[in-house]
């Protein structure tokens, strides 16, 4: 179940990141890439910490 949730989370984050990079303004392309990478790392880290230290 946990692996499944990690897969869903990673897949979702990648999809939304791709979406942002497609629709983002051209003059902020590198910023958008940097921000989406940051959110991906943050999302995975937050889920790891919450599921490890605050299990349901």
């Amino acid at each position: 179940m946990d692996t499944f949730n990690y897969l869903v989370l990673a897949g979702g984050l990648i999809l939304i990141s791709g979406f942002w990079n497609i629709i983002g303004p051209k003059e902020r392309k590198s910023e958008t890439r940097f921000v989406t990478l940051g959110i991906f790392v943050l999302g995975m880290a937050v889920y790891f910490l919450q599921s490890t230290f605050l299990p349901h």
Partner: protein
């Protein structure tokens, strides 16, 4: 800052593509009334309105009484939205920036530094993640929460025009699902007309029901200027308030009341199951939470940069505030935040209308008299970034008005807390303005006006 600097500042904001958090919206950026109506139609519809509608629909003796309460509550809110919107339209400033006229160029930190909408953004997403986790229990609520926080800041990070598009999509979805729900109710034995013959155990008086209805939107309505600064005229503002806000609000809460009366349950999830519209309901709540979340993040991003600039002297782009709001949501959205919804919304009901009341009283009453704290006549017609406005640093009458207003809102055992706070703050603010004028507290403001007037002449 002199007039030239103000003009340069305006041009920079225009060129940056930002949504003018620190300057009035230029005339060429104003939008038509039907664009604003779409925005407000989407913004007015929040998931809690369905919940409130279901509760009122089953909590008054008859459905017609519930619909009467909804009408009066919605009318009060639409007027409130319209009046705040007129200030935004007239000054071209968002709610926080237009506060400069009432609070002063440094005092504007007070209305600007409301971070309540960060909480609202997180709570809304936590509630929706909870609904989705009920529908798809295999996926962890924390995964839903992280993904929705990320997705729902998309339009806020990219800009205002995309929000209009989102609300245009939201409009047909919400309207169709609401209507489909009514169709489903009509398909039940007795139909909609049969609901008016039903009687329910009465848990709400008319006053209590109107109180609950006003409570759902009083905080948001006090910040209507954030959107209506884009309006071309006060007539457009009033039309959009009544067609957009009133229409969206009535449709949302009215459908909730009828659905609730049909299902006789106060649980919105059970109501959706009974009306056989689980999938449609999930889609509708998805769109609703997205539009409302966007609205909350947007408001925070227009208010906070101004306060940060006043305190630190640094300008922060609106989109970085959106990222901050989203990051906070990602970090705490999955921690059962939805359980704190009621205390959170009660806190907003006490605080936010009080802050808005000072601006409304200042614009509609005191600015039209000789007792205005700035000593200016027609103070609101002076550009907000001009020296004539900026040299008025802090209005001391706002402090007792805020403190006593919040106390009245919080402690009075009768009436509607938001309305108590609003009226109480207005009265206290007027009284202290008169008192300070009488004892000469505002004399230095008048003297400075004379000094700047002389400098301009020379």
């Amino acid at each position: 800052m002199d007039t030239n600097n103000a003009e340069i500042s305006e041009k920079k904001a225009t060129m940056s593509g930002d949504d003018f958090p620190n300057v009035p919206v230029p005339k060429e950026y104003r939008v038509t009334w039907h664009q604003l109506t779409f925005v407000w139609f989407g913004a007015a519809m929040v998931a809690q309105l369905y919940q409130c509608g279901v509760t009122i629909g089953t909590g008054m003796e008859t459905l017609s009484l519930a619909l009467q309460a909804i009408f009066w509550g919605a009318l009060f809110l639409a007027v409130f939205v319209g009046l705040n919107g007129v200030i935004g339209q007239a000054t071209g400033c968002n709610a926080a920036l237009s506060g400069t006229y009432a609070y002063g160029s440094k005092g504007v930190v007070i209305p600007g530094f409301h971070i309540a909408d960060i909480g609202w953004f997180v709570v809304m997403i936590a509630i929706f993640a909870n609904i989705m986790n009920t529908l798809i229990p295999q996926i962890d609520i924390r995964v839903f929460s992280i993904l929705f926080c990320y997705l729902f800041m998309t339009n806020g990070y990219i800009g205002f025009k995309q929000m209009v598009i989102l609300n245009k999509v939201a409009f047909p979805v919400l309207a169709l699902v609401s209507m489909y729900g009514l169709y489903q109710v009509n398909s039940l034995p007795g139909g909609i007309s049969g609901l008016f013959e039903k009687t329910f155990s009465s848990t709400f008086t008319m006053g209590a029901a109107i109180t609950a209805i006003i409570g759902t939107w009083s905080a948001g309505a006090s910040r209507a200027a954030d959107y209506f600064r884009f309006a071309r005229s006060s007539k457009d503002t009033l039309i959009s308030s009544f067609l957009g806000f009133f229409g969206g609000f009535i449709l949302c809460i009215g459908c909730g009341a009828i659905w609730g009366a049909a299902s006789e349950s106060t649980d919105i999830g059970k109501t959706l199951v009974m009306l056989n519209m689980i999938t449609l309901g999930a889609i509708m709540f998805f769109v609703q939470t997205w539009t409302t979340g966007e609205h909350s993040a947007y408001i925070t991003s227009t208010a906070l940069p101004l306060s940060i600039e006043v305190m630190t002297g640094k300008k922060i782009h609106r989109r970085y505030i959106i990222l901050m709001v989203g990051a906070i949501g990602i970090m705490i959205g999955g921690l059962s935040i939805q359980n704190y919804y009621v205390p959170f919304i009660s806190f907003l009901g006490y605080v936010i209308p009080v802050i808005g009341a000072i601006v409304m009283t200042d614009y509609f009453i005191l600015a039209k008299t000789k007792y205005h704290w700035s000593g200016h006549e027609k103070f609101y017609s002076i550009p907000v970034n001009s020296q004539d406005v900026q040299h008025h640093i802090f209005n001391p009458a706002t402090v007792p008005a805020l403190l006593i207003g919040m106390l009245l809102s919080w402690k009075l055992p009768w009436g509607i807390p938001a309305v108590n706070g609003l009226i109480g703050t207005a009265i206290v603010y007027i009284l202290f303005s008169l008192l300070f004028h009488k004892i000469g507290v505002y004399q230095k403001e008048v003297e400075r006006n004379a000094i700047f007037a002389n400098q301009e002449v020379s």
